[in-house]
């Protein structure tokens, strides 16, 4: 197939970027989206141009590295699919495809389509862990966890931290990511003792990083490759409110 690609080129965070147009002939419809970019880069290198920088690692939809906004939709048109798992048969011959990076102030562009997502690490460092030393792994059912709870925590833990939620949100809010991490630990017995402290700290770090505020559009969950549910956000809101009220009436600081 023949494609016209409009790709965001930007030297670094300081310089201004712009969309550059490239034409690619004879792309196999069976190649993946990232393979298509590889082919384009081969062509650019052969022409003596600078290849396009884009993030990728596992290429099997589990690491969260790939981060392309394709025709305005983070990870492209397929539901519950990362950009690396997207295939060219999803597009029409002769189509024009626009490829942009994640766009949010806390995710500055490093180069072209690569952004710095360490704001997510800051949120994790604020409370995405339990403080007890866990030692080596214990017997699987040492701590009995109801099936519903472990399923729910597993759904939350499925988040691969790619940042598509932020990229898709019209407010550039990081609520879905943060809530998945909060909900994961807050719903398990190991994480429960630090529930209040965790939610306050992680929401604090999220606000500090400069993400926008949630107005419940639901675009985040719709583009999420792991289909993290809006329930997680509702739970984080509930846990946050509870924690606020509790610390307000408590002597101890959380």
């Amino acid at each position: 197939m023949k494609l016209t690609l409009k790709v965001w080129r930007q030297k670094n965070a300081q310089t201004k970027g712009r969309l550059e147009t490239y034409v690619l002939d004879s792309v196999s419809k069976d190649s993946s989206f990232l393979e298509m970019l590889d082919i384009l880069n081969e062509q650019l290198i052969a022409d003596g141009e600078v290849p396009i920088a884009f993030d990728h690692d596992c290429r099997e939809g589990i690491c969260g590295a790939c981060s392309l906004t394709i025709n305005g939709i983070p990870h492209g048109p397929d539901r519950a699919t990362t950009a690396c798992q997207l295939h060219m048969r999803r597009f029409k011959d002769g189509e024009t495809i626009t490829i942009e990076p994640w766009r949010a102030k806390p995710f500055p562009v490093i180069k072209d389509l690569v952004t710095d997502r360490s704001a997510f690490d800051d949120i994790m460092q604020a409370g995405g862990f339990i403080t007890a030393r866990t030692g080596s792994a214990i017997d699987a059912n040492e701590i009995a966890i109801p099936k519903d709870d472990s399923d729910y925590a597993m759904d939350a833990a499925a988040c691969i931290g790619c940042g598509a939620c932020v990229a898709a949100c019209k407010n550039a809010s990081a609520m879905l990511f943060t809530s998945a991490k909060v909900a994961h630990l807050n719903s398990l017995p190991q994480g429960k003792p630090e529930k209040d402290r965790r939610v306050l700290a992680m929401v604090g770090a999220m606000d500090e990083a400069g993400f926008g505020s949630c107005t419940n559009y639901g675009e985040c969950s719709a583009v999420c490759p792991k289909e993290i549910s809006l329930d997680m956000i509702a739970q984080m809101n509930r846990d946050y409110l509870t924690a606020k009220v509790k610390t307000f009436f408590s002597q101890k600081s959380a």
Binding site: T69, G72, R103, A222, A234, Y240
Partner: protein, 248 residues
């Protein structure tokens, strides 16, 4: 945002209920207005101040949210797309701003009565207060007189552009609420997968009830279902001149 929204959501329902008394006749709505106005001044003004503070906070929060979101995406997408966000959710700011202009007009129109040519004070006389079919009397034996809210509303909505503005405004209110009501539950954490659809439907139904309830009054006046047949002769004589001044 959610809490002030909740106050307004409940107020709007109560307000609509009260207004619909107009269909129960002139005496009913006038008696209702009389009761509201004879609340002790601190209570009446307390409620009014509380509502205005809620409106103010609601707007202030909306401004803060909008500014934070703008700041969070300094460079926007060249190609924008929406996957599933509803029209209502994407237009909350627009519907909100138009509603604000409506609320200002509405309070100037029917509460403060300071819209030029629509003061409704000189043209409308007071009418006797009738409750449960009986004319209420003062101790002196004279009837208690009350402001004729009924005739004011009918006269107000007989002006086509006033009615049109009201209908458009409550239509936008319906839109605002279809997102607002479900969003409110999400924000306070009372929503999950099982309830999501139910709450969405609740919000949709609520928005439509509010729209139909409020829009019924100006519509009924425009098509003549609501008229002012019970006008006293003196007021009836003034109506044509009043309408003439209104239309100027």
């Amino acid at each position: 945002m959610a809490l002030t929204g909740l106050v307004l959501v409940l107020f709007v329902l109560g307000h609509m209920g009260g207004n619909l008394l107009i269909f129960a006749g002139q005496d009913a709505i006038n008696a209702y207005a009389y009761q509201l106005h004879s609340l002790p001044a601190p209570v009446l003004w307390g409620i009014r101040a509380f509502l205005l503070v809620c409106v103010g906070l609601h707007i202030w929060m909306a401004v803060l949210l909008t500014l934070a979101s703008r700041k969070a995406r300094p460079e926007d997408y060249r190609q924008k797309a929406t996957v599933q966000a509803t029209y209502a959710s994407r237009t909350m700011r627009m519907s909100g701003v138009i509603l604000l202009s409506f609320i200002i007009f509405h309070i100037a129109h029917y509460t403060a009565r300071i819209i030029p040519g629509k003061e409704y004070n000189t043209q409308l006389t007071e009418v006797p207060l009738v409750q449960g079919g009986e004319t209420m009397l003062k101790q002196s034996g004279d009837p208690i007189m009350t402001f004729d809210v009924y005739t004011m509303m009918v006269a107000g909505f007989q002006v086509w552009w006033v009615s049109l503005f009201y209908i458009i405004a409550v239509g936008l209110l319906c839109l605002h609420l279809t997102h607002g009501v479900t969003s409110m539950f999400q924000t306070i954490g009372l929503r999950n997968k099982r309830w999501e659809n139910r709450l969405n439907r609740l919000a949709l139904a609520y928005g439509w009830i509010i729209f139909l309830g409020f829009a019924a009054i100006p519509t009924a006046v425009l098509i003549g279902i609501l008229d002012a047949p019970a006008l006293t002769a003196s007021v009836a004589a003034e109506i044509p001149t009043q309408i003439a001044t209104l239309e100027k």
